[in-house]
Structures are given as structure tokens and as C-alpha cells.
Symmetry: C2
Subunit: 118 residues, 2 copies
Amino acid sequence: MDAAILSFVAQYSSTLDTVFEALTDPTRRAVIRRLGGGPASVGELASEFTMALPSFLRHIRALEGSGLIRTRKTGRVRLCTLEHDRLAVVDGWLAEQRAIWESRTDRLEQHLREAKDD
Amino acid sequence: MDAAILSFVAQYSSTLDTVFEALTDPTRRAVIRRLGGGPASVGELASEFTMALPSFLRHIRALEGSGLIRTRKTGRVRLCTLEHDRLAVVDGWLAEQRAIWESRTDRLEQHLREAKDD
């Protein structure tokens, strides 16, 4: 493979590492679900989760670092938005796996049909 | 919520923790992809991955612990099989998120239509 493709593959793999890591935690998954319903400020989110603020902010930073959410300061408020496109890389990865095992199932079925015809 | 539902929710959340954790590693994702093409023995898999055997076996155990693969000893060989159903919990979780934000988009569109009609 040429260098550009290798670099793309490495970047995709590293994105998957970070996104899956962000999804390992129930609080972070709950924040994603909450933001699915619409943007919210860090303050609003923090009030909905019974957790010490520093721990909660660590989760917000982890989500931001993974690219799953975006935060933007407007005045004195920091607004969080869900980044659907980043979550879509998980969809993409799952679709790849499904394509692999479905093509295997097709090959098995064809093999069985041919064996029957013989 | 009653105790049975709470216990189910807790178990589902803990399954998601473990499955996402298993997927954070590129070697483990590559093993899943490989097993999508059909079962393979631990020996066959180990020979395809350039990694010290003890490290590789740790990945296999992590995958088995997450329920994403099953291993079964037949004679002197340990055969690994992909557990599609366990990977499907990720599909399920993604579908939930999508349902949340699609219903939000629908509400926004309806709101805009009503505002236009006024």
C-alpha cells in the first residue's frame, strides 16, 4: 500500500480506538443519548447527572476529544452538540463486519447448492 | 421501575461497557473481522498476527470475556467462533440513538411547517 493509504488506514483505526473508548462508559453514553434530543449547556447536563462536577467535566472532555460531541462557548455558557458523523464511523465499521460474514454465508449457501446438484 | 427491569437495564449497560471495551483495540477488531470469514483455531489466528503469543492470548481472552467470540476445545485445538448476536447489541444501541435524534428532527420540521402556515 502507498503511504497515503497507510496513513488513512492508521487514522481510521485510531479514530475507532478513541470512539469505542469514549463509548465504554455509561455516563458518556447517557450524555450522547441526551444530546441526541438537542444541544445542551454543560451546566444543564451537569444538573441532570448526579456526579461530582470535576468527574462530569472529565467525561465531557473525553467525549469532546473523541469527536463525538462539540462544545462552543457562547457568552458565559458552554454549549454541547452531538456530532452524528463521528458516531457514524461505528455504523461504518459494523457494516464492514456484516458484509464480511454475509459474503461468507452466501459462499456457504452456493457451496451447498452445488453439492446438492452434483 | 421494578427490580427486574432495573436489573435488566444494569445488565444491558454492563454488556455495552464490556463490548465497547473489547472493541477499543485494533488487534481485537482485526480478530473479529477475521472470524467474520469463518471460525479459526487460536493457533491459526496467532500465526496471522505478528505479536508475542502471551499478548495475543490476552486479546483472545478479552474477546471471549466480552462474549464477542466463543472458544471451544476440540482435541488439541481451541476453535474460535464469532458471536454475531453479541455484536448486534452495538447495532441496537446505535439504532436507539438514531431513533432519538430522528424524532427530534421530525419535531423540528413539524414546528417549522406550523410556523410557516401561521
